[in-house]
Symmetry: C2
Subunit: 353 residues, 2 copies
Amino acid sequence: MTEPLPPGSVIGILGGGQLGRMLSVAASRLGLRCHIFEPSANPPASHVAERVTTASYNDNVALAAFAKAVDLVTFEFENVPTEALDLIEDTVQIRPSRQALAISQDRIAEKDFLTSIGLTVAPYAAVDDLSDLEAALGRIGTPSILKTRRLGYDGKGQHRLSEETNLTDVMAAVQDTPCVLEGFVDFEREISVIGARSTDGEVVCYDPGENVHRDGILDTTTVPANIPASLKQDAVLVAGRILNALDYVGVMGVEMFVTPQGLMINEIAPRVHNSGHWTQNACEVDQFEQHMRAVAGWPLGDGSRHSDAVMTNLIGDDANAWREAPSGLHLYGKAEARAGRKMGHINRISPKS
Amino acid sequence: MTEPLPPGSVIGILGGGQLGRMLSVAASRLGLRCHIFEPSANPPASHVAERVTTASYNDNVALAAFAKAVDLVTFEFENVPTEALDLIEDTVQIRPSRQALAISQDRIAEKDFLTSIGLTVAPYAAVDDLSDLEAALGRIGTPSILKTRRLGYDGKGQHRLSEETNLTDVMAAVQDTPCVLEGFVDFEREISVIGARSTDGEVVCYDPGENVHRDGILDTTTVPANIPASLKQDAVLVAGRILNALDYVGVMGVEMFVTPQGLMINEIAPRVHNSGHWTQNACEVDQFEQHMRAVAGWPLGDGSRHSDAVMTNLIGDDANAWREAPSGLHLYGKAEARAGRKMGHINRISPKS
């Protein structure tokens, strides 16, 4: 048993986007204070955090000062450079752990890990050059998807391959970045489970949500997912197995495909997740508060759901919906509504079915 | 029709206590940014606001700079000095209006106003000196309560009078501050209605809550109140009448006594109110977001209730409850848990009855 960080403690958050913003708001409910570290100026989280450090992840002086000023460090995105984490960890604890981060930063490491604990993923192979790609295609075939091993999100850095694809062109497009070839999964639906694990090893998962994407970006998450009860239970057990295997502390998002052969893991995110935003309006304790409770060493909160919910992302000009939305509106404070940019979301709730 | 303040606008809030803190959090959901003006250092709202001015309400330079830096001013408490408001209003609009503030700052003005629109209040009389007090007691009798006309809250500045009370001692205790003598109301229960009115004159009221006090401080608010449906409707109509009569914009708390003769108004507060904190966990849009929507000129939100709720204040050492509360916890970020100090609250919800 670790002693929980008491109210008044300062949580450092790496990254100042909308996830950091909503983490900071949730922390305030628990009497915890937040200090954001973010390279870009005027980020969404800066509007609701007590302190903000604006500096690059390569700025060792700023990183050291940040680490000294906080009682614990967590993060809102998984692509923080290893060197920055090393430097911070010399001074203060990081939760979730480096192991979880390292695995989720590399698609091959992630798939190897998931397979090693007996879970199913799409057929995959590492691709570093044209001959790797040809060999991988020989085994996996088409249709398939070539993804960069690192730094991909929202469909960026992904190329769909068919029989007609010119392989030389594709390798040129990825500029010889290390990649993974994934077999195309003809799934019925995509679901995700938002799970949390405490420092004591307690696990609490939210009900699975059903995700629909548009142009490679999450469009809606609907809860409950339209799947049998047994599959919901399987999905929650799978998430729990991943959390336990990693000795994880914090909230994790686990995306899964529902296929005729059962559940297949798409990817894991070692942080609060867009497909968990519905919890803000439909649950007693939302994913952001749950994450803060977990990393601060508190007992997990009651993640039970009092309502059904549909979360709809507001992308680009969708944000103009603020003029009409009578409830469940969450805007991120971004000044410029660029196409494809997540500007906010709306949670529509209805009585629990 | 006024044009609403768009997301990205800056709302100035006079006062940085827990109400300012929760207003700031609600504003962030709407993409609005907050600038707090507060005389004391490190106030609760400063942990979740983008900007904080630490200055006295007599600091004209700081007030002028604050007014210039924001798009609108609202307040979390009603005792802002008139001169400060005058100075701010030279530059930027204040909502709710000065009229509502002026009335609620003076118990006599408030009771005169409520009586003038046909509502019932306890018998009252202005008391400036001993002879006023004797005359007032001759008319109102005992038991009764002598309250300061201004600056009273949470039972402070109140003296209960019985037949045995030494009147000279009481006048010495209030140090000749202008007072009001109120007849003691033998009420069945106290309820309150949190109402909101938009710039377009739309009114939305939350379901009445039932309040129980302990040592002069609100202890619990329970929703639904244990009163007949007809009385709930009356209570909401009364709140609506007050909001309309004042051409009010924003959220107001209206405390009422349920007596054998019907509803009697105890007092009004031209701001979000402790007895409305339950809305955070039991409603689609809470009182804080509703206030921000109203003052920003937005359409009001959906104030409907999806759950029953009991709000319990955490006073002084009650705040240690954070170790056990699995949901509905709201701490205010105050460093010192002094006796009688509001440190937080817990909202316990249950399925709607």
